[in-house]
């Protein structure tokens, strides 16, 4: 019997709400965080909308020593980790340092910090580049800074597989608990809404160029035209279910199953890997498709990618066989931060018996999906599937389930 791994703490930083309570209230109410970019002047760029986090005053949350050495994504990660640990009722200083580890995902690293230092390099010279650039830009820096701040010396790493990475990180954290680490801090926060990060994202060719916040990011809609990027994500605390129970912790639910695949080379006529990833995750969870109450879709909002995802969901669950939602229409795509935030939403759906809506999209009849639109849908939720596809062919699926 493999160890059951549960989530005991959540920390959310989202364009539509800072902290789990605000995020979840906004998400169930259909409140969007998408608007015109304010962090730089976007008028010269083809894509001008983003899901930005507003009202985050870093100096209220972190010691002054950490601020000059951290990118925004790291600052948000550290605060989300603090909130998740507090939510779990865990005080790391009281626990053995090698019993705790950190696994996060990252898709871009600290672009805003890096852009600032590169600008100093070409405009002022190498003597003006911060010593902290040595790590502040780096993919693994969020894992590193969380582990240093909280004295966690157990297994730690970073997963880099675009949006799929958020689930890959949680799966790696689950493995580490099964190998004997008592507590893992996991999830992801990405934030690269700066000119350099923006241009890098534009290169995917998948950004929406609409200026209408309510029509720019509309997955599974006949007018889908790409996505709006956002910043944020979630950090989760994972523990062995038995250990969590014995210390009196309340579990949001279990990370019950995980599957990952890589797409075949395009043009070979072979089926994309998403369906298989879902089947692997369900098998890993020992769950049948009819036990699943809701699927949190990846929601690329690019017609051919929506088609692939809808076909995969329909192949596993049958036509309109399961409720499908994608609250990321309120946040934009958060890259590696997206799936951990969806896992948090899935666990809160289980807690409250409420599926948050997909806002703005008018489902196209071309897809045989039971998309939860306009309003949150009440009803018991016991098992949820979260999907995440990463640019370049990564597919990951995770099953979360009410704690036994």
């Amino acid at each position: 019997m493999t160890t059951s791994v549960v989530v005991t703490g959540l920390g959310a930083v989202s364009p539509n709400g800072l902290g789990v309570q605000d995020y979840w209230a906004a998400t169930c109410n259909g409140t969007s965080g998408i608007g015109r970019i304010t962090r730089f002047d976007p008028s010269g760029y083809p894509a001008r909308l983003a899901g930005e986090i507003s009202g985050f005053a870093v100096e209220e949350h972190l010691p002054g020593r950490l601020i000059p050495q951290t990118d925004r994504m790291t600052q948000l990660s550290l605060v989300a980790a603090d909130w998740a640990l507090a939510d779990a009722g865990v005080r790391p200083a009281e626990l053995p340092e090698f019993s705790m580890g950190v696994v996060t995902a990252s898709s871009s690293g600290g672009f805003e910090f890096g852009q600032g230092e590169l600008k100093k390099l070409w405009s002022q010279g190498s003597r003006y580049v911060s010593a902290y650039q040595s790590f502040a830009w780096f993919y693994a820096v969020n894992s590193g800074q969380i582990s240093i701040r909280n004295g966690m010396k157990g297994p730690s790493c970073v997963l880099v597989s675009d949006q799929a990475g958020g689930l890959d990180a949680l799966a790696q954290a689950r493995r580490q608990i099964r190998k004997g680490t008592s507590l893992m801090v996991s999830g992801a926060v990405d934030a690269s809404i700066c000119p350099w990060g923006w241009v890098a994202q534009m290169a995917s060719g998948r950004l929406s160029t609409s200026d209408e916040p309510t029509r720019a990011y509309i997955p599974f809609d006949g007018g889908a035209r790409g996505h709006v990027p956002g910043e944020g994500g979630a950090i989760l605390i994972l523990e062995d279910a038995e250990a969590a129970r014995s210390r009196g912790a309340t579990a949001y639910g279990e990370i019950a199953g995980y599957g990952a695949t890589f797409d075949p080379r395009p043009g070979r006529g072979r089926e994309p890997g998403l369906r298989k990833a879902m089947e692997l995750a369900l098998h890993d969870a020992g769950a049948e498709p009819d036990e699943v109450d809701v699927v949190f879709a990846d929601a690329a909002a690019v017609p051919e990618l929506d088609r692939i995802e809808a076909d995969a969901i329909t192949a596993v669950f049958g036509p309109r066989g399961v409720a499908v939602t994608t609250p990321k229409t309120m946040t934009g795509r958060l890259y590696s931060g997206a799936a951990p935030l969806d896992v948090a939403a899935a666990l809160l759906s289980i807690r409250d018996g409420l599926i948050p809506p997909t806002t703005n999209s008018i489902p196209s009849a071309a897809y045989d999906l039971d998309l939860v639109v306009t309003e949150a849908r009440p009803g018991p939720v016991r098992t949820a599937v979260v999907l995440a596809k990463g640019y370049g062919g990564f597919n990951s699926a995770m099953v979360v389930r009410a704690a036994a």
């Binding site: 010691p63 002054g64 020593r65 950490l66 601020i67 000059p68 050495q69 003597r127 003006y128 911060s130 010593a131 902290y132 040595s134």
Partner: protein, 87 residues
């Protein structure tokens, strides 16, 4: 005498700009003989501090000098010694 000298006030300002400070440490207190490590400044913070001093005062501080100066007093003396040579 060099045209300008490097004081504790200068060091405080540069530490604050380059590496920040924590609530637990009072940089305005008596810090001259305290170890940088105890003040919360690890090797990278000192590297950043050193590079800010170098470009502001247009001097070069070699790495062994930086790593050998483990207290504010030692660093201030080393910087002033370098300033005296360069003027």
């Amino acid at each position: 005498m060099p045209a300008h000298s490097f004081t504790l006030a200068d060091l405080r300002r540069i530490l604050l700009e380059g590496a920040g400070t924590d609530d637990e440490v009072d940089l305005d207190g008596d810090i001259l003989d305290r170890e940088f490590e105890a003040l919360g400044y690890e090797s990278l913070a000192l590297l950043e501090t050193g590079s800010r001093i170098e470009r502001e005062y247009d001097i070069t501080l070699d790495d062994s000098m930086l790593s050998g100066a483990t207290t504010p007093k030692a660093l201030i003396e080393a910087v002033n010694a370098q300033l005296a040579v360069s003027t």
